[in-house]
């Protein structure tokens, strides 16, 4: 309780803030953590890096008491602890900022702060105490937040500050951050890093930073541990390693950045967007006045920090919802607010769509693979006559797609949810590419996909482009954008910050545009 932040006890004599020995955790038949050991010296910023699915989130969830480990020991500041619940973890001085914020949106900042730690006396007393402590914390770290603001009305970056304040209010001396930058602009990321450095240097807070981005590890941490397939594969001192080595440790073999792109043969304009705009529920513009064209045989990459209008743009083009203003021209047809495009119409015009979220949109998880393989294509004559669906034809169709895209296991009757992320994504791609589209809209083509499948998917996208398809690819992975795109549009706050030719593009210039700076 309280925000007394002392330097980690024993940090001077080199004791560890966190020591894990032989942590294991199994979910069903999946071994998420295998015999993991880790030492984090007190008073340092330590990174854990790994691909999606490597088990790093599970590991910190165990440390925070969210799950019990199946085996292993945890030692905090030299004391053996049995962390069986979140309450234990908090009492031991561990705080966590989750990937998805754990805030009650309808509550004020203050209410969120004191929730669960109201202290003795009535609620009003607790709130008063919280208010004064909040002011103290704000002063000390420059974490300025209005205590009476309703969380739902705050920008994402500020909400994250509230999460950090919550952890400090509960007396955290070890702060875990799980993929904290996914929702932030580069500027907000910089601010976060400054806050973290200040906490670390001035107050001796030990910070455990979970990410899959090499850049962040290099910029922030003192030490780094690398996870792969549920195992801890290496520990490095940040000063003596380099991104190439970390990438290879993460993936388990040498990584070829670049390589498959080659010059495109660009054809005529197939998609023309004019002054496209979309307003949100409270009149907040989500997409502002976008104009661009896409030609046959090219890949237009759409870069930007998550939540800057790319998703909305993709959905507008796919006919999910009507624009507020502006037009979309496909071939000789023009669509506007009053004459909106629909998912059915785009299919007739040769547009295919691989949605960003395959779990919610791309597949129906409880359906068999064969059933998911006709989502949005259930009117195709190849799977039945008239109003009927023919199960035999359904299965054969799915079998074909599975063979073409090497989907494992090749079982059309298997439930969609039981396939791995990579195979699920390949299934969606197979379905959408099977119609030989003239335009492919694709969102986050490799999110949560293993490295082997990433290469396969990238090859398929380039091959499709070479067959003369125009591809619009939205991705938050800058590396992916840079390695596949012929042209790159950068979006910030719903607007286009400009379209850059491949030859002029590099991570620095694009990163700058993503912040909204010209």
């Amino acid at each position: 309780m309280g925000a007394k932040l002392q330097r980690g006890e024993g940090s001077a004599d080199g004791c560890c803030a966190v020591s894990l020995y032989g942590i294991s955790k199994t979910f069903g038949s999946v071994r998420a953590n295998k015999n993991i050991s880790l030492d984090i010296p007190a008073g340092t910023i330590h990174g854990i890096i790994g691909e999606n699915g490597s088990g790093k989130s599970t590991l910190v969830s165990i440390l925070y008491g969210f799950y019990g480990a199946d085996g292993g020991r945890i030692r905090i500041f030299g004391n053996d602890l049995k962390i069986q619940s979140t309450a234990h973890a908090i009492a031991a001085g561990i705080g966590m900022v989750h990937q998805h914020f754990m805030l009650v949106p309808s509550f004020t900042v203050l209410e969120n702060l004191v929730l669960g730690h109201e202290g003795s006396g009535g609620l009003l007393q607790g709130m008063a105490r919280g208010r004064s402590e909040l002011q103290g914390l704000s002063r000390e770290y420059g974490l300025d937040v209005d205590p009476d603001a309703v969380v739902a009305d705050l920008p994402v970056g500020i909400q994250q500050r509230v999460e950090i304040l919550k952890a400090l209010y509960r007396g955290a001396r070890i702060l875990i951050l799980d993929e904290p930058t996914g929702v932030l602009t580069p500027q907000e990321t910089d601010q976060l890093f400054n806050i973290l450095r200040a906490l670390n240097q001035q107050q001796g807070v030990t910070i455990l930073f979970i990410t899959h981005k090499l850049r962040e590890i290099m910029a922030l941490t003192h030490g780094v541990s690398i996870m792969r397939d549920g195992e801890m594969v290496a520990h490095r001192c940040t000063a003596t390693t380099n991104p190439q080595e970390l990438a290879e440790l993460m993936v388990g073999r040498p990584v070829l950045l670049d390589g498959i792109w080659h010059q495109a043969k660009v054809g005529k304009v197939v998609l023309q967007v004019n002054n496209l705009a979309l307003d949100g529920t409270r009149g907040m513009p989500l997409v502002r006045d976008l104009s661009f064209q896409v030609r046959a045989g090219e890949i237009l990459g759409v870069a930007g920090v998550s939540g800057n209008g790319q998703s909305e743009l993709l959905e507008l083009l796919a006919g999910i919802g009507a624009p507020s203003r502006g037009s979309i021209t496909l071939g000789e047809y023009t669509f506007t607010k009053t004459n909106p495009i629909t998912p059915l119409v785009i299919k007739e015009l040769g547009v295919a769509h691989v949605p960003e979220d395959r779990h919610a949109m791309g597949l129906v998880l409880p359906f068999s693979a064969a059933e998911s393989a006709i989502l949005g294509h259930e009117h195709s004559p190849i799977i039945g006559d008239g109003p009927w669906l023919n199960p035999g034809k359904l299965k054969a169709h799915c079998g074909q797609l599975m063979a073409n895209f090497h989907i494992r296991p090749p079982d059309p009757k298997r439930q969609s949810r039981l396939f791995s992320g990579g195979n699920q994504q390949k299934m969606v791609l197979a379905r959408e590419m099977s119609t030989n589209p003239t335009i492919l809209l694709v969102g986050q083509p490799t999110r949560g996909v293993d490295i082997g499948a990433i290469e396969f998917i990238h090859q398929q996208l380039i091959a499709l482009r070479d067959r003369g398809c125009a591809i619009i690819m939205v991705s938050v992975e800058l590396d992916e954008i840079l390695s596949l795109s012929d042209r790159i549009m950068v979006m910030s706050d719903g607007a286009s910050m400009g379209i850059i030719e491949r030859k002029d593009a590099d991570a620095r210039s694009i990163g700058l545009l993503m912040t909204g700076v010209d």
């Binding site: 989130s57 599970t58 969830s61 925070y64 008491g65 969210f66 799950y67 619940s85 979140t86 309450a87 234990h88 973890a89 908090i90 009492a91 966590m96 989750h98 998805h100 754990m102 805030l103 009650v104 949106p105 309808s106 509550f107 209410e111 969120n112 004191v114 929730l115 669960g116 730690h117 109201e118 009535g122 609620l123 009003l124 607790g126 919550k166 509960r170």
Partner: protein, 325 residues
């Protein structure tokens, strides 16, 4: 003529209070349960069960207090069953509620018949076995004051204990919900349970406490029907009052005071229907009481459809809590 109309009006208001009492208690029960994220359509069944239990215990022991206590206990037991299904086993909350309603219909009649062989009814209670009306001092003498006297005599005086308990429950619900630590946690659990869980507080614990409180209040509502307002248990005596309370709770947007208003409105409609039944009204003719009784349901449908205002149910309502990574 005017004074006669006034008397009619005052009597209708008095009846409104009597008819709204079970709705208020039930709706407050609903608020506790639903603000914690647990849909409770078993208000109807729990009220029926506790009405039966109260009448049975009062008949057997002769004490209305024991009747009330056992009504609360039985209601809490079924609340715990609801919790076991929905909180512990993450079952469908609506389905669990329906099951309790069906069980209540069956159990009350079957057990009643096995105990008393009165076709599902319980024996008629004497006044000593019930919660009698509490006459306030000077009620009869103040009646003579023209106009306002009968308000004191009819509307304020002469209600039984549970009517006052119902009104008090609104106040308590409001204070607990908005001014207590428990209330803060309860509201948080109903909106964003993961925020409570990561704060080291048990979501399951808070939700169980919420449904237990709901059980207690529901038990009082049932007891009111059979041993305060009425003098015995009749089969299906709740007659949809649980669902009306649910409607009132939605109508009042899950907030204690507006919900109280909604309960009073629905109670008033009920009182009006009883008063207008068979009365010839100028221009309208005889108004069908059946049609007035539709009004709460129609109003709720219209409200829910957003034609009157906007309802905002608790964010996590109906969603079993599962820990996520």
């Amino acid at each position: 003529m005017i004074s006669d109309l006034w008397l009619q009006f005052v009597l209708t208001i008095d009846a409104t209070l009597r008819l709204a009492t079970p709705l208020i208690l039930c709706a407050m029960a609903g608020i506790f349960s639903e603000r914690s994220g647990i849909i409770d359509i078993s208000l109807e069944g729990k009220m029926l069960l506790s009405a039966f239990t109260a009448a049975t215990m009062a008949a057997i022991t002769g004490s209305p207090w024991l009747g009330l206590a056992s009504a609360m206990i039985i209601s809490v037991v079924f609340s715990l069953l609801h919790g076991f299904a929905c909180i512990s086993h993450r079952g469908n909350q609506v389905v669990s509620g329906l099951a309790i309603n069906m069980l209540a219909s069956g159990l009350t009649v079957t057990v009643g018949n096995a105990l008393f062989s009165l076709g599902g009814q319980t024996p008629l209670l004497s006044n000593a076995q019930r919660f009698a009306p509490i006459a306030f001092p000077l009620a009869e003498s103040l009646r003579q004051i023209p106009g306002l006297g009968i308000i004191y005599t009819e509307v304020i005086s002469g209600h039984n204990l549970l009517v006052w308990a119902a009104l008090l429950s609104v106040f308590i619900t409001r204070v607990v919900l908005l001014r207590s630590t428990f209330g803060l946690r309860l509201r948080a659990v109903g909106e964003t349970p993961e925020a409570v869980d990561t704060a080291g507080i048990s979501v399951v614990g808070i939700r169980y406490q919420a449904v237990i409180i709901a059980g207690v209040l529901c038990g009082m509502a049932g007891a009111y029907l059979s041993i305060a307002h009425g003098a015995s248990f009749l089969r299906e005596m709740t007659a949809g009052k649980g669902y009306i309370s649910l409607a009132a709770m939605i109508f009042g947007n899950w907030r204690p005071v507006p919900v109280l208003m909604a309960c009073l409105l629905f109670g008033f409609l009920d009182a009006l229907a009883a008063r207008l039944g068979g009365v010839d009204l100028p221009w309208i003719g005889q108004l069908s009481t059946d049609l007035i009784q539709i009004l709460p349901y129609v109003l709720t449908v219209v409200l829910l459809a957003g034609f009157i205002g906007k309802t905002t149910p608790p964010g996590a309502i109906g969603v079993p809590y599962v820990k996520r990574r």
